[in-house]
Each structure stands twice: as C-alpha cells, then as structure tokens.
C-alpha cells in the first residue's frame, strides 16, 4: 500500500513493530493492566504506548478484550492490577467523569444516544465547564446565558460538519442507527478532547456513511487530536490507521504499521486460529 503518510505519523517510522514498543511521544502509557472475569483473563496488557497526534487502530477477534480495555482505561471498570497514565499523569483509579475532563473521551460500542433529549441538547451536554450545570447558578439565567450561546454555536458547527444540522431539534431517539453513531462522535468532540477512543464507530453504518465517518476521523488527526479506534473491517483499518495494535485473548500480540501487521504471522494465527467472521477475514 503506497500511502501518503501524515506528517505526525512520520515520528513512528523508527518505532520497531513489536508488542510494547516505546513511542517517541506517547499520550497514553499502560503497564501491567489486567482484568479477570471469574476464570477468564479478559485483559492482560504488559506494556502499551499510544503515540500522540496519530490514529491508532485497535483490532482483535471478538472477545479479545478491546472493549474491556477501553472500559479500564477510561475508568468505567476497575482493573485487578496495573497502572496507566495520560499526558504523564497517572489515571489509575481516577473516576470516569474525571478521565473525560482530563481530555480522554470514549464512545461506546453499543451507541448511547440520549433518546429523549434533542440532538442539540445531546451536543450541548458534551461541553465542559458549564456554569449553568451547577445547581445554584442554574436558577439564574444571566449567569450562564452567554456561555450557553457560545456552546450552541460550537454545537451547530459540529452538527453541520456531521450533516446533522437539519436534525438539531429532533429527539436523538428518532435518529437512524448510523446517525446516532455520528451524533455520539460529534458529542464526544464537544468535550474538546485530546484523545478520542472510538469503539467500533463504523459498525452498522452504511458504506457511503463509512466514507464520511472516515473523513471525520482523519480530520480529527489533522486538527492535532489523537485517536484510538476499534474496528473489525480490515480495509478501514488499513486505510486510516497510522499504527495498529492487535489484541488477542487480552494480550497485545502485535503492533506496527498497518502493512506490517497484515503480514504478521501471529496476527494471522490469532484470526484464523480463533473465531472470525466474513468481514474480518476479508
């Protein structure tokens, strides 16, 4: 694949393609993070670094522990052991909402649109540091009215970019599945994160929309954001990732640039030796 590498990805050209490889400028570093469910070792990551300013693809068979790893890193689940840090500050044991406030925002595999809130309310909810979200000032509109207008403007811009502007007054529950995915992503951006973690943002989205979603993801990188995304479709992964991490049975079994991953023996074994469906095998 003769790729036009993104400038930020250049930094990765000297990184060896092996599990746990150190990165020149990591935004997220995890050490020994593990999680068991009963007798099942769902996640067991020795060492993992995520480079700043690039798109990192996280792949692995069903049940590999990708979602669980997301849950652990973002404070939605507690690990049995291990530590991790974001921007060199430890995140171990930090509550989920604080993780988000520090600039690391995730989306969910099963979309969580807030059904009975309008699209615009969904968006406005994403904004942080809102004065009107405190119960006292909430009673006095002059204290938060101006900020609310700014937020609304920003929300409308994003909605426009994600082609949802004409839906702004609709309830989120009235959107189609693909539109919800878009909304969830746009809403996450309202938080103004440094790192976005997308759990299968393209699942269930029609191919035409996938193209535009991919466009959005790459444009995030162009704006200087770091992105981790989980995806089963290898074409998509190859297309937009600058770096790929492969998880199987909770462990990082390989990482490297997309082209190298495709040829990696361990990866092929993990996929063919374990479950895979048509989509993954392509």
């Amino acid at each position: 694949m003769a790729e036009v590498r993104h400038p930020a990805a250049q930094a990765l050209s000297d990184v060896p393609a092996e599990p746990g490889a150190p990165k020149p400028d990591p935004i997220l570093v995890a050490d020994g993070v593990s999680r068991r469910f009963g007798g099942l070792q769902a996640v067991d990551v020795d060492h993992l670094e995520i480079q700043r300013g690039v798109i990192t693809g996280l792949i692995g068979p069903n049940g590999a522990g990708k979602t669980t790893l997301f849950n652990l890193l973002t404070g939605f689940d507690q690990p049995d052991g291990g530590s991790w840090s974001f921007n060199d500050r430890s995140l171990s044991g930090v509550a989920a909402h604080k993780v988000a406030r520090r600039g690391m925002v995730r989306t969910f595999q099963l979309t969580k649109a807030l059904s009975r809130l309008t699209v615009i309310d969904n968006m406005k909810l994403g904004a942080t540091k809102q004065r009107g979200e405190r119960i006292g000032p909430a009673l006095i509109k002059v204290l938060w009215g101006a900020q609310e207008r700014e937020i609304e403007e920003r929300a409308d811009e994003l909605l426009d970019r994600f082609k949802l502007l004409d839906k702004r007054a609709d309830y989120a529950g009235e959107l189609s599945g693909g539109q919800r995915k878009l909304l969830e992503m746009a809403r996450a951006l309202m938080v103004e994160p440094e790192l976005v973690m997308l759990d299968e943002p393209m699942a269930g989205v029609n191919p035409a929309l996938v193209q535009s979603l991919l466009g959005h993801v790459t444009s995030l990188r162009d704006e200087g954001m770091s992105v981790i995304f989980v995806e089963h479709d290898m074409d998509v992964v190859m297309n937009i990732s600058d770096w790929v991490v492969v998880l199987a049975e909770g462990r990082v079994i390989a990482e490297g640039p997309p082209a190298a991953i495709m040829k990696n023996r361990a990866v092929i074994d993990a996929y063919l030796g374990s479950e895979h469906d048509d989509e993954e095998a392509r």
Partner: protein
C-alpha cells in the same frame, strides 16, 4: 343517589390540602423519577421525616414553629444524603427496593413503643402551633358549589402556594444546563459519565431536591393537621404519589398538580358513591375504603398501559425507548 353530593365531595377533595400535600410529594418524585430516572419508592420516607421533623420539634422538644419547619427541612436533606450515599450507585431495581425498605424502617421505628417518648409511638403526636393564629382570613372560601372552613382556606392557600413555588423552581432548574445533565442521567448515566459529568453528585442533588420538596409536603401535613401519625406514611403514600405522577404525566411541569387534583377528585367521588350505595342498601356497608382502593389499583393499571403519558406527558418523547 346524590350524584351532585358525590361530585361536591370530589371537588372539595381535589382542591383540599391533602391534594396539595400529595402534589408536593409528586413534584419531588417527578424530580427523582420523571427527570432523573431514579426509581425512588421511598417517597413516603421523605413525607415522614418532614412531618415528624415538625411534630417532634414542637410536641417533644417544644421548639417554635419556624425552628420546627427548619428541622423538617434538615431531616429531609439528611435522609436524602444518608439514603443516597449507599444506594445511588446501585442498579435501579436495587435502588427501588432499598428505598422502599428504608422508608418502611423509618415508619416501623416511629411507630414503635420504644420510640414513644420521642415520636409518640403508635399513638403519634398531637400538638398545637401558631399557624392558625396568624390566619388572615375572617371567612372561609365559598365557591358556591363547594366551600371550605376558614382555617382550611388558610391552610390551602399556604400549601398550594408552596406547590406553585416548587413547580416554578423545578421548571426553572430543568430548563437550565443543570436540568440537561439531570435528564441525560435518566437516559443513560454511562453516557453522561463519559462526557465528564459527575453522575453521583447530580443524582445526589436530585435526591435532595426532590426529597426536600416531598419533605415540605410532610411539613405542611403536620402543620395543617396539628398531628403526626406513622400510619400516614405507609408505602401506599409512595404508590399514590406515583399514581399522581403518571396521571399528570411524568417529566411534565404541571403534571403533578393536575394529577393530584384528578386523583383525589376521582378517589373521593368514587368513595362517596360507594358509601351512598352502601347506605342505600345496594352494597354491603363499609366497602367504601376497599372499593376505592380496588378502583385505584385498576385505574393505575389501565392508565399506565393505555395512557402512560398521562394528561400532560409528551407522547412523542414517550414513544422513544428510554
């Protein structure tokens, strides 16, 4: 049969203080359930602590009425904090059962003989307050069709004013960014958390707010009646508040007010009709109480299935899966 009389009884009840107190309970519940999605089945507990806060302060400790009101409010806040701390992180079904359990524990304790020196035990508390002494009215409210005694008129004015105040405050809050976070928690608290909202803190604020409004209902119940008795605060009180909320429409602004008026109108009218049928010999006597409750149960079932949005609820909103 005296249909007019039955309707009179119903109307009398619809605007009476009991309807106003239950409107307060339902407004509190609307904050909890309607807006935040907290399945609080212990609203009777807030009702109880508000009422006993006043009753104990006046009857047992001899405090002034203002101090008593303050104690009632403090007790409501304290209950919300104590109840919320262990339970707000629970799944909603666990939360529902735990809250009903806590409310029952409070009632059983208040009703027990050992607590008698403080709560009056099974006999409850009787006391007097200067509430009616400051009644500015000389004559009672007379609407022609129905009329109220002079003291009841005063009690109604104060209680319904509080209802309006609570409704306005809740409406204001719910249309603010704070209310947006609260509603987002109802929809999906994980999503709210992923956007940096401290869900626990918001739920706690909601529990306190709704609890204080419910507690205010208890405070007015005690002041208006000059008496507190533990049997008022059975789980039934919570169920009635839910019935009112559903009747008016959950998450609607004036739903609880209209719901409470309708609820008590129907209940009192129905009871009156059954009683008349009893004295006319059509039915065995003494069926008024049970029959009214049977009808309430049946009405609740039909309502929630066939018109779950109530009178003022938003149909469009309701059709979306929550």
């Amino acid at each position: 049969m005296d249909v007019v009389g039955a309707l009179q009884t119903g109307l009398q009840s619809a605007f009476g203080t009991q309807a106003a107190v239950y409107a307060l309970l339902a407004i509190g519940l609307n904050v909890h359930y309607g807006y935040t999605g907290l399945l609080n089945f212990g609203q009777a507990g807030f009702f109880l602590v508000g009422a006993y806060g006043v009753g104990i302060s006046i009857a047992t400790w001899g405090l002034s009425i203002w101090a008593a009101v303050f104690m009632g409010l403090v007790a409501s806040v304290a209950l919300a904090l104590l109840l919320g701390a262990p339970t707000l992180r629970l799944r909603s079904d666990y939360f529902a059962i735990t809250t009903i359990a806590v409310a029952e524990v409070l009632r059983l304790v208040a009703n027990s003989a050992p607590a008698g020196p403080v709560t009056g035990g099974p006999l409850g508390l009787q006391f007097s307050s200067p509430f009616y002494a400051v009644n500015p009215f000389d004559v009672g409210l007379n609407l022609g069709f129905i009329s109220y005694p002079v003291n009841t008129t005063w009690a109604m004015l104060v209680t319904w004013s509080l209802v309006v105040l609570a409704t306005l405050a809740v409406a204001l809050l719910m249309s603010s960014p704070w209310g947006r976070v609260i509603r987002s928690i109802r929809e999906d608290e994980e999503a709210a958390r992923s956007l940096g909202k401290n869900v626990f803190a918001y739920k706690m604020q909601s529990l306190v707010l709704g609890g204080v409004i419910g507690g205010t209902g208890g405070i007015m119940w005690a002041i208006v009646g000059n008496t507190v008795n533990a049997n008022t605060f059975r789980p039934q009180a919570t169920f009635f508040a839910y019935a009112i909320l559903i009747l008016g429409g959950a998450a609607s602004r004036i739903g609880p007010i209209v719901g409470s008026m309708l609820f008590w109108f129907v209940l009192a009218t129905g009871q009156s009709v059954v009683r008349q049928a009893g004295s006319a010999g059509y039915l065995p006597g003494g069926l008024a109480g049970p029959t009214a409750l049977i009808l309430t149960g049946l009405g609740l079932m039909l309502l929630v299935v066939y018109r779950p949005q109530g009178v003022f609820g938003n149909t469009r909103e309701l059709s979306l899966d929550g």
